[in-house]
Amino acid sequence: MITNEKLLKCGKILKTPSLFINAKTKADGKLIKETIIRYPLNKANNGISQIDGIVISSGDYSAVAPFLVPDIRAQLDPSFYSADKRIRLIDPATHFLFSGLEKDKDACCSVVEKWLPQLSNVVNSVARIDAQKEKLDSSIQRIYPLLDAVLIQRLLEFQIRANADILINPSVPFSSSRRINDQAEKTREMNRQGRVLLDTVLSRYKEQRDLMNLTVLNPSVLASTYVDNILDATLQGNPDIIGIRLMNLDEKNSVETMNFLKFLKTLSSSGKPIVVFNVREFGYVTFCYGANAISMPIAKSPYMTKKKASEKAPHEGSYYHSIEMIDYSYRSFPDNIRAKNYKLPCHCEICDEFGSFTKIEKKQWNYFRKVHFLLVKNMEMQELRKTDVPLNIALKDKFGRSQKTGYVAFLP
């Protein structure tokens, strides 16, 4: 059930619970646009009307933006829920300067380059350090001083120009308990600066855009001794909305997962809306701990896994099984449905169109499975929003019937 609706300063509404989708590439942007057009909300289709937001990293913005422009159909039909009518978030993604894939680092540096040309060299030289301890110390010593008020201002301006509906304060990640005080201090400083800048030099937008403090964290730092420090840093500067982005949550580690959920619960007592970024089905659990919205990548794992150089990701990605709530690889999926004559185990619009796995050509596979993912996530959100029972009960039932039974233990 929709338990809360918050009117954002931009005029759009943040419903609780909400699902946002991460758009990372030109193909993602195109896919979202085409799915909205191909499956509009009408008597026959639910489309993706329950997906209320799109999240784009600053480095990916130029690739995705052309697909999010206002749609003429929305002018002709006010009920048409075009991409530009949904909540748009542009994540400055400065955490990529410290960890993550090289291409994400490069993308972030390319956005910042025009204001801070030396950043790229510093980030790359820090990234080349092998020893983790030394790398972290060096990043704090050399990258932190470059993330100053002027850079924050430019990144907020970038978001305003990109029509972001909520402005996200750039931040540094909480990645190590050894340097937690330095990381908290820098987060505090950046959160304060973002608020001051929005209230002063960006004053035209202080009543038109909500400001989000985004805390990026490795769940391992959420041991009880550090929580107060992280909470204090997260709430610094009186944000309108709070964002949490997890770096590689090990959902099988129940202590770490429970610590995170407790942290979320404490954070929600601040009364500010919370968006949990970059999660998959685990995100539904966070709704029961105070998260108002979650963001999900399209049909892939939200977490970064290091692969050996010899290991190459398969070209055909995995299929999300809507009942079992797990992903099947292109190779293993046919085995799973062989007994049912390869009939697709789903009733989303695109699965109904194809009917059988055998009818999907290999070259269509990736497009098919991503559209299917969006349509299924839409159905799941509709189910959660329309449930007559409390959300935790509805989720216990849903997870209980899936392969994600482990999540039931985390539900209150």
Binding site: D148, Q153, I160, Q193, V196, T200, V201, R204, G237
Partner: protein, 163 residues
């Protein structure tokens, strides 16, 4: 010296890194917010003690804020006290009209000098809102002022052109 309330500010090193035009905007906005937070009034001394700005910078921006009628000053002995002017008597009576990239706001306000109608002009740049100017007309004389503007418009033929 009385304690004054100040808004969140950037460290001196940080604000000095801002480009000159944005630095001016920043200092003025911080002073505007500070005076608003302290309805009992503030002095240059109080501000320079609490804010990371030079007294001369503070004086300059206070005089700009005084010229645009956003604040006003009273002299008590040797002390010049700056007070906020922009607190409406009633929010319901505040009206705004946007013409081009300028916004005109009119509202009734009360300060130590009496009751006034305040008409303020705000200019919008790409990212900021700047106060262009403002006039204060005593509430009791406002009808006379409107009469003056109407006559002026008629004499200039502005109203006829507009219609």
């Amino acid at each position: 010296m009385l304690e004054i309330q100040i808004p969140e500010v950037l460290q001196r090193n940080d604000y000095l890194k801002l480009p000159p035009s944005e630095r001016e905007l920043y200092v003025r906005e911080i002073l505007r917010q500070t005076v608003r937070k302290n309805e009992q009034g503030v002095t240059v001394g109080m501000l320079s003690e609490k804010l990371p700005f030079d007294p001369r910078t503070i004086e300059k921006h206070l005089s700009i804020l005084t010229c645009t009628n956003e604040i006003y000053s009273v002299k008590i002995g040797n002390t010049q006290l700056f007070l906020p002017n922009s607190i409406p008597m009633h929010h319901a009576k505040k009206q705004t009209v946007t013409i081009g990239n300028r916004e005109y706001i009119a509202y009734a306000l009360q300060n130590r000098m009496g009751e006034f109608v305040f008409i303020q002009e705000k200019k919008k740049t790409e990212f900021a809102e700047e106060v262009g100017g403002g006039i204060l007309i005593p509430l009791a004389d406002f009808k006379q002022f409107v009469g003056f503007i109407t006559t002026f418009s008629k004499d200039m033929g502005i109203l006829n052109k507009g219609s």
